[in-house]
Point group: C2
Chain length 268, copies 2
């Protein structure tokens, strides 16, 4: 992690950032914005599917750690950013109808309905910052489709997408497991260590889901990989199979920034 929060976006407050996004003045990545504030992925489903999606989150707590859920029909995440509007405050969205990606708009005002419920789930950035603060050395190499099945609920089913991080030192692997265990609302401890093929990943040198910007060197001998579930990318896969009449998720790297400090995604 070397390019976090170094630019102007990193110094914005969540409210300033969301205002910029709301006015359409920023439609790029949220990953470098608002250093130290909690970023979340978002899934929006009609009320008729809300129980099933709640069940899905409950059954896959590391994949989809719930940070906030809106009242039916309300686009305002009352607990974590009451002034925000989830229809406009993310840089970009993906809109699925019957499993087909039909639009990637920069707001969803035209898609909003009175029966929609929005779920916000924590993102690993919070523990990336904690690892950095603890001088744990590693490198992110992107996200991969794995063979680890989610526990299904209603129409929501499929395999997890996982992000992989490579560590050169055994001490840092242990520290990383200790530190991330506290961040239950940011995916928590890793779900796998070591051999990628054991979880259905053929080639760690080429991410097939989230491809990071810049050149990524392939794994080196002696590096140990840790894997975490990644909510946004998994849900974009699952949206295709769930085939809901309407389902909206955040565009890759375009999550919602809350008024919580990222440390608040730790459990204690």
């Amino acid at each position: 992690m070397d390019n976090i929060c170094t630019g102007d976006l990193g110094r914005l407050t969540p409210m300033e950032y969301r205002s910029l996004v709301r006015k359409g003045e920023w439609t790029g990545s949220s990953m470098e914005a608002c250093c130290g504030w909690a970023l979340t992925d978002m899934v929006i489903v009609p009320k008729d599917y809300a129980v099933d999606f709640f069940l899905f989150c409950h059954r896959n707590p590391q994949l989809c750690p719930l940070v906030d859920v809106t009242e039916v029909g309300s686009p305002h995440p009352r607990r974590v950013a009451p002034d925000a509007d989830l229809r406009t405050d993310l840089p970009r969205y993906q809109v699925f109808k019957d499993g087909k990606l039909i639009d990637e708009p920069t707001n969803i005002l035209n898609y909003w309905r009175d029966d929609l419920v929005a779920f916000l789930t924590g993102c690993s950035l919070a523990f990336d910052w904690a690892l950095l603060a603890n001088n744990v050395q590693y490198r992110s190499i992107g996200a991969f489709a794995s063979g680890i099945p989610c526990v299904a609920a209603g129409p929501f089913r499929g395999n997890m997408v996982v992000s992989a991080r490579l560590f050169a030192s055994a001490r840092d692997v242990i520290k990383a497991i200790q530190i991330t265990s506290r961040y239950m609302l940011a995916h928590g401890a890793p779900i796998h260590i070591g051999d990628p093929e054991a979880i259905g990943i053929k080639d760690l040198s080429r991410a097939d889901r989230i491809v990071l910007p810049g050149k990524i060197d392939p794994p080196k001998p002696g590096e140990i990989a840790l894997y975490w579930p990644t909510g946004g990318a998994t849900m974009r896969d699952i949206a295709k199979d769930a085939k809901l009449p309407l389902m909206i998720v955040d565009y890759p790297r375009s999550g919602f920034i809350t008024d919580l400090r990222s440390e608040e995604l730790a459990i204690f």
Copy 2:
């Protein structure tokens, strides 16, 4: 804690205990049964209220830490005790109609419907055992109606009932906070320490919700009180105000025993 798990019931496996209960051969307390296994409280609501109750649990995670939720219409808690039947495997139930307690049966076969959803939430017994195993000395003095409001969701609203424990040593207070913090699915860390009046409790010498068996000495000078939310007693209060057409909860001290070890209610 001195009377835990000393009798014959304490040595039963969860399956043996549930079988006894199912046959109607035991209709008393679950608190002394199946030492080391995870006890849960239960709330059953019709599907139309399931989203609201999910929201309620999400917004009050220390009060109602979700351990399992059944599929609509299924009485089988698939994740934590797939062989169990929630209609028969608790010693006693309370059935509310429109907010009125209409029955306290030893099974709910006659009340079950295809649109019911059961929620199981963790109970503090898991951390009581952990405190005991860590030689932390304290005494439970029962449960009290507090002035701490739950975060409302739909019809579910009201104040928390809290259980109080008294500690004679400062070292044990600190250890208790450390240890219980890990047991997120058993209410986690205390929600209050010290002055009962600060949370609306007038008299710590007389529990007004869960009254423990035997004589309880009043607090002594120098004892420090820690308070934890208690799910079952709170939900029995809330059921009266929520006034659902049907809502079923476990009778006091008559929770459901899962196939999870109590240690599995700790987060890591």
